[in-house]
């Protein structure tokens, strides 16, 4: 079977530059929005899931949906500290951090509106447990003092949060002595200080959660079973830190997806119609040409193929352009409330190979669907009447 040369397809697109450009533009806009939505949902999940370390385990009150609604008392922390399955540091003490998580309001730089910020009181081992968190400005806070370290997202998004500045909450003033870089994870959107100081200031007698490292990650299930059989641990729930943070991202990510995909589905319909109009016009304008091609011996299938390829090319160029536009979004960071933790989480648009591939597949599908009917019409043309068309 003879195939219609690619150069023919290319030239026919070029001959109708303006129409081609308009169609490509339409597809590009749709793919831009589609990719943007996927990048946003991925960015959010990446931010929260990466927040957890694979070997860390978090202990929350049973059926607590987040650290904010969880309460764990000192007795439970003491039991765990003595437990064999908990990893020990060089000094032989348990790698366990007793933490308290609260929310305070700070003014945002951009909108001057109040935003909710998580504050996390931690104990001595916290930094050892989260090797991804580094102090990039200033120094770590000292335990037993009113010193705090702020995540870099907080420092960049909220007003009056700089090294040496003072924040007031819990009836006291707290000095910012350091800025932490948590590598784009959820900790970048938190303020850290001494758990005991926070609890005293807010008059809170219990912790929110306990985080510890397991001595042997392979033994997690046994450890969990043993702890859950312990009557002193009846009211708590033990899970991998990663699983906890994945759950935290679910509602918001699902919401972004449903909203975004619903909008892009409607959009893509519009873009397919755009491609269809262009291709129908292309077929109508080239009736004589198609007749000639058929007379020369090209088969119906080749004609169908040629018009389909033309449409898919339009869509692919548009898709590429849309992805390129969307790639510019990766420089943008947004901060949005995560209702599960009732505090703002800063995250970016994350471009991943998966997103690029999905966006391009999406574009090709639009091209095929939009181009199929016109291409079929071209293929069905009767040679004699096509040649006679004016």
């Amino acid at each position: 079977m003879m195939r219609i040369p690619f150069s023919y397809i290319w030239r026919s697109l070029w001959a109708r530059r303006l129409t081609t450009a308009l169609t490509i533009g339409g597809v590009a806009l749709v793919v831009f929005v589609f990719a943007g939505v996927l990048m946003l949902a991925r960015g959010l999940e990446a931010t929260l899931v990466e927040t957890g370390s694979p070997d860390n385990v978090i202990v929350l009150r049973r059926s607590a949906t987040s650290e904010l609604s969880s309460q764990v008392d000192r007795a439970t922390a003491d039991v765990l500290e003595a437990e064999n399955g908990v990893a020990r540091g060089a000094d032989g003490r348990a790698l366990l951090s007793r933490e308290v998580v609260l929310v305070i309001d700070l003014y945002k730089k951009k909108s001057n509106a109040l935003g909710n910020v998580s504050i996390r009181g931690v104990s001595q081992r916290a930094l050892e447990l989260r090797p991804g968190v580094h102090i990039v400005g200033g120094r770590p806070f000292q335990f037993g003092t009113h010193e705090i370290v702020v995540g870099k997202s907080i420092a960049s998004q909220f007003k009056g949060v700089t090294l040496g500045s003072q924040l007031s909450f819990g009836g006291d003033r707290w000095t910012v002595v350091g800025i932490a870089d948590a590598g784009g994870t959820g900790f970048d959107s938190e303020i850290w200080g001494d758990a005991d100081q926070f609890m005293q200031a807010f008059g809170r007698p219990v912790y929110s959660s306990l985080t510890f490292r397991v001595a042997d990650p392979g033994q997690f299930d046994q450890l969990k079973a043993r702890l859950q059989a312990d009557p002193r641990m009846q009211y708590v729930e033990i899970k991998h830190e990663r699983d906890y943070y994945r759950e935290q991202s679910q509602t918001l990510a699902k919401f972004i997806r449903i909203l975004g995909l619903m909008v892009t589905t409607i959009f893509s319909f519009g873009a397919m119609i755009g491609a269809m109009i262009t291709m129908y016009a292309a077929v109508a304008n080239r009736t004589v040409e198609v007749g000639t091609l058929r007379a020369l011996g090209f088969r119906r299938r080749s004609v169908l193929g040629a018009f389909l390829v033309e449409s898919v090319m339009l869509a692919l160029v548009g898709g590429g352009l849309g992805v390129a536009l969307a790639a510019l979004l990766s420089f943008e960071r947004i901060s949005v409330i995560n209702f599960q933790s009732f505090s703002e989480i800063g995250f970016g648009f994350a471009l991943s190979p998966g997103v690029i591939v999905s966006a391009l597949i999406f574009a090709v599908v639009m091209g095929v669907v939009g181009g199929f009917l016109p291409a079929a019409r071209a293929a069905r043309l009767d040679i004699v009447s096509a040649l006679r068309a004016s």
Partner: protein
């Protein structure tokens, strides 16, 4: 009038193309309407806020409670005519990953409904609610979504207040205004207090926030200043603001999503424009010779411009109207897909106007360049064109 007939004749030359273009525009206008409606739904709390209510909450964050004795002190402030309070309960009902199972649950003081006349509870139901400690009142929409009836028992797992909780539905309220949230659930603060005292002795149960009714909206600034200054040096300093500002701060939390939705709605207008411009450019190019012939026959530039614009506007406005008609069912579908996330979702008249406006604007913009080209084109060049 003759020209209008010519416009329709032109439109019917490529019926499929005309229909497809209208459909494309209809789709885009529908998406535009949907997005505007969603943004509107986000703001429903602000729109529904009463002009004579204020909210007093903990200065540091809403998550911190306020002591109960504040109530008497706030009630004494001149300008305040009534005070009530509420508390966020949270809780997990059924599968937490199903959006349907999330709705606002508050424990409130029995005076709460006096301050919220827009929650209309039949008097006998309200009386029954007040008589029973474990009674609750739910919104009409919530009752509909879950099939809750009067006398049904609602059971859920507590998170902020652990344990198993049960309430009997004794009242179903309806909203007075279209902007009233009909998906909330209220139960007695006293019940919460009792239960927590029994389950976790020693745990304080305070008020989450106070609702203040003021005599006139002008008194708000003074009331806010007075209330906040009373507690400034206490363990729980307050922040008092109008209900509108309070709701606004919730909307602000998601401002990034709203901004991106607004960007998307502008992108949609771009798409309408591209689809329409494509069709018009095509039609005009195909008819270059005809236009030249019309010119030789004595039709002026104005006639030709009317032809091109007429064609664009008929397509865009038809598409726009169809799109708006489609907006209503799609909004319904969306409300079904994400129930309770947007308690109040209505297509606003302004959205309808803007949708038509966007179609009109796109029609004008799409016709401008081709019309200009037709007018400027010398007759000879036009006649010589090969289509």
């Amino acid at each position: 009038m003759k020209l209008l007939r010519l416009v329709f004749k032109n439109l019917s030359r490529h019926r499929l193309r005309t229909a497809l273009t209208m459909l494309g525009i209809a789709t885009a206008v529908m998406a535009f309407g949907l997005i505007r409606t969603i943004v509107g739904a986000w703001n429903a709390g602000v729109t529904g806020a009463s002009a004579n209510r204020m909210i007093t909450r903990h200065r540091v964050s809403l998550i911190f409670p306020l002591p109960l004795p504040y109530r008497q002190e706030i009630a004494r402030v001149p300008g305040v005519t009534a005070v009530s309070w509420g508390n966020w309960f949270g809780g997990v009902y059924g599968d937490p990953n199903d959006f349907k199972n999330f709705w606002a649950r508050f424990s409130v003081d029995s005076t709460y409904f006096d301050l919220y006349p827009e929650f209309q509870v039949p008097p006998d139901q309200l009386a029954a609610f007040k008589k029973e400690r474990d009674a609750c009142i739910i919104g009409r929409k919530l009752a509909q979504q879950h099939g809750f009836k009067l006398g049904d028992v609602i059971t859920m797992e507590g998170d902020i207040f652990p344990g198993r909780w049960q309430w009997v539905v004794r009242g179903i309220y309806t909203g007075r205004d279209p902007s009233t949230d009909e998906t909330q659930m209220f139960f007695h603060y006293d019940y919460l207090y009792e239960q927590v005292k029994a389950r976790e002795p020693g745990r304080p149960v305070d008020a989450g926030w106070y609702v203040l009714r003021v005599g006139s909206p002008d008194a708000m600034a003074r009331v806010a200043a007075t209330v906040d200054s009373m507690f400034v040096n206490s363990r729980a300093p307050t922040k008092t603001e109008s209900e509108r500002e309070f709701q606004q701060s919730f909307v602000q939390m998601s401002s990034a999503i709203i901004t991106s939705l607004q960007v998307v709605s502008v992108v949609i207008i771009g798409i309408i424009l591209l689809v329409l411009a494509n069709t018009i450019v095509m039609s005009v190019r195909e008819r270059t010779r005809e236009y030249a012939v019309l010119k030789t026959l004595g039709f002026s530039g104005r006639h030709l411009v009317t032809l091109v614009f007429g064609e664009a506007l008929v397509i865009s406005l038809t598409g726009g109207v169809v799109g708006l008609l489609l907006t209503f069912p799609i909004v319904q579908g969306f409300a079904k897909a994400l129930p309770t996330f947007f308690p109040v979702i209505n297509v606003a008249p302004l959205t309808v106007a803007l949708g038509i406006g966007a179609a009109l604007l796109a029609g004008l913009a799409a016709a401008a360049v081709p019309a200009n080209r037709v007018v400027r084109m010398p007759i000879v060049v036009g006649l010589r064109t090969v289509g």
